[in-house]
Subunit: 263 residues, 2 copies
DNA sequence: CCAAAAGTGTTCCCACTACACCCATGT
DNA sequence: ACATGGGTGTAGTGGGAACACTTTTGG
């Protein structure tokens, strides 16, 4: 929704195209150079940051909706995207705490006031997804109602996101840290060929702890999750690191066998 | 909904009390004596079995709704109940495959034909929960539209449940097996005091594999998850087994430390 | 030659595995 | 006495953790 007209059409006819009472919120994690960041946006007239989100089209599957929403925010397709929980408990989400006011501030940009029985004012449950991207590849193009966006280190996320978005992002992080042992998460955050220090630092960043380099390499190689290549990368005035690539076949086989990483 | 009147009221006025487009489905796992069973129901006029489910009241939280639905089916409260996934992809769930017919067969019991735009005919996403109960304690009281119910061993679940319920139950099982290593699942399926053979058999049943008795005991005691008591239980013409109880404090501490069971 | 980063091997120990015999109880 | 089920200990091993020096490279 990049123009006033699109927004107005959404407000007035969105209920015909989208399912009411349900939304999708995405915790988009971007990794780069020892930092794990999340994409936050701020809607027009709102003080607090939000997770990017959207609604589910009446004729698209849930998975399709999540990918579409992610693509609208990042312009990237085919990303790693994973559902992790559905939120329907918090007081803000129950409309027990009045949030129409802030909501209305946003839509006042297009000269609309939402009545309490407008579909956008109704109680909405949210299905949480998390995505992994290389945030240097992402070109964020804020939509019409979005005043601002930022990539924040997960440690620096403010305590006051809108609604229950703090809860959502905390659960996303926990899920990500649990999944890193069971999914080829690095595959989605690293280039096809990467160096050992790169993947090592990725794991250290996501898990917030130090991992012994030698043991790390040994384990990944022993399990056959990565393959060492003959090439090296030039990195300036230092020794050239070798390149590696993922062995996805082995990865999936290892997962089926129940082999599990741990550090 | 135990009378014709209640059902009629639900059909005609349910949309005022419940959120449309959303339901909850519960995989209710009952354990007893080496068997892991699931509660299935068959709605009036339907050939295939379903998971028990229900809708979310407009003024109750998601968690409250799940507990209420579970209590309606089992008459038990305070059970272990865990959300695990939200389903919105399958063709049946997209209304791409016509299921109104079967749906209508059910409601024909109260003389109602649902139009395609009736709220019960619309596309509905389902939030999956799984629960753990001792099925000997459960008194199933089928509702008005339920013709039949059964406890089936999870290995014997027919391949043709309604909608995507096979998918839901498979995911529930996978989640249960993953959670057994990280949650005091036995706590919800065993009496406060239990014998070692009891908890041992529970784990073997859920994980579908044999576990060495001695190693099993050693691990649970070493991690401090259970405490041996001074009491024994009389079990007829055999040696009296000792009783144990869970040490929930230690359990949560172990989880925070990241200690994890494995067998 | 120096600074910065990457490469690599060994030891130790704990935790998991495998395994079998004795004991208690009621009939 | 016996049938049934419960209780218990040890030895061996494999995988994880800890640990430091050498090599490469460009400036």
């Amino acid at each position: 929704m990049n123009t006033r007209e699109e927004v107005l059409d959404f407000v007035h006819h969105g209920a015909e195209r989208f399912l009411p009472h349900l939304s999708i919120d995405c915790a988009i994690f971007g990794y780069h150079d020892h930092d794990l960041k999340t994409l936050l946006i701020r809607h027009h007239g709102q003080e607090n940051w939000s997770l990017p989100g959207g609604y589910i089209g009446r004729h698209e599957t849930l998975t399709e909706a999540a990918h579409r929403i992610l693509a609208e925010k990042t312009q990237l397709t085919g990303l790693f995207l994973q559902q992790f929980y559905t939120f329907g408990d918090s007081a803000t989400r129950m409309n027990r705490i009045k949030t129409e006011q802030t909501h209305n501030t946003t839509y006042s940009k297009v000269g609309v006031t939402l009545s309490p029985d407008h579909w956008l004012s109704e109680r909405t449950l949210s299905i949480g997804y998390y995505a992994l991207v290389d945030y240097l590849q992402v070109v964020v193009t804020p939509e019409f109602l979005v005043d601002d966006y930022c990539w924040l280190n997960v440690a620096d996320i403010p305590r006051e996101l809108v609604y229950d978005h703090n809860e959502i992002i905390q659960k996303a992080l926990l899920t990500l840290r649990a999944h890193i042992f069971q999914q080829p998460i690095g595959y989605n955050l690293l280039p096809d060929k990467f160096t050992l220090p790169e993947i090592h630092s990725l794991y250290e960043t996501i898990l917030c702890k130090q991992i012994d380099r030698r043991n790390f390499r040994k384990k990944l190689l022993t399990l056959g999750l990565i393959r060492q290549l003959d090439e090296q990368r030039k990195i300036g005035p230092h020794r050239s690191p070798f390149l590696y690539e993922f062995d996805l076949d082995n990865y999936s086989r290892a997962l089926e066998d129940g082999s599990i990483l741990s550090f």
